[in-house]
Subunit: 172 residues, 2 copies
Amino acid sequence: MDAIQCMLTRKSVKKYKPDMVPKELLEQIIEAGLNAPSGLNKQSPIILAVTDRQVRDELSKLNAGKDPFFRSDPFYGAPVVLVVLADKSVPTYLYDGPLVMENLQLAAHALGLGACWIHRAKETFEQPEGKAILEKLGLQGEYEGIGNCIVGYADIDPEKKPRKENRVFWIE
Amino acid sequence: MDAIQCMLTRKSVKKYKPDMVPKELLEQIIEAGLNAPSGLNKQSPIILAVTDRQVRDELSKLNAGKDPFFRSDPFYGAPVVLVVLADKSVPTYLYDGPLVMENLQLAAHALGLGACWIHRAKETFEQPEGKAILEKLGLQGEYEGIGNCIVGYADIDPEKKPRKENRVFWIE
């Protein structure tokens, strides 16, 4: 898919088929994410590629929190969650992480998959259960959750939302 | 250019020819930027498209600050600066802004142009001279600088920097 077209037609998909995405496609998406730029090329963001159902469901539960009014699965049924975290000790980490998230979303769309940014990754990994997931992977201390990029086969074709007016100011 | 290839081959360009970029190309780049996703689709980020030499030079000067040891032009000679700012009153503004920045950089690369994220947009618009630029445009109060996307014709073909190891953790 053409790069500009990809950016213009990407939509946030909020309903997924349960089918698992082949690992080969996920690897392409992740590679695109890793190639995002970063401040002083520090490449501080990392990606947890979660396809294990139990961990995916645990992350969903941690994301929803204790509010019983919150929707039951914040990941909208998507079978894959690519969690981006970034090293807080790098001054630009909060800018670097979202760039990876954007590449993940664009690459998923380019490959015919649906994707969506789900917030509250920060809160997830501040909880003991979230920290335990990182510790199991040997990731300690400095990582802050940036975003969850859910990925799967879209079970809906959402409308592209119009862009708001007055967001560009020319000084020419 | 293919979207995935675009993400894999994009590089941060740090030397530019002085030639101005046609407005029609800048408009395509900006449109790609505006189409980045945003939290709850609030579309809080805005773009200042600066091609005016005087304002471009002023932004460069404000960016460099008062440190005489700082390089003379932090914009590396690029004739265009697309400044992304985002509305601080939107809770996700710090995540939304960088997504626009990534689309700008990718779109420039897809169109055969060079681009690079230059930091210190936040600091620029905290200074009285930066605030004055926003006030002149009728933009008051809540906008924080996210990044400067410099754009122009590359005068160098930088090597693609290798990706660091151990940034992907599979939970499958």
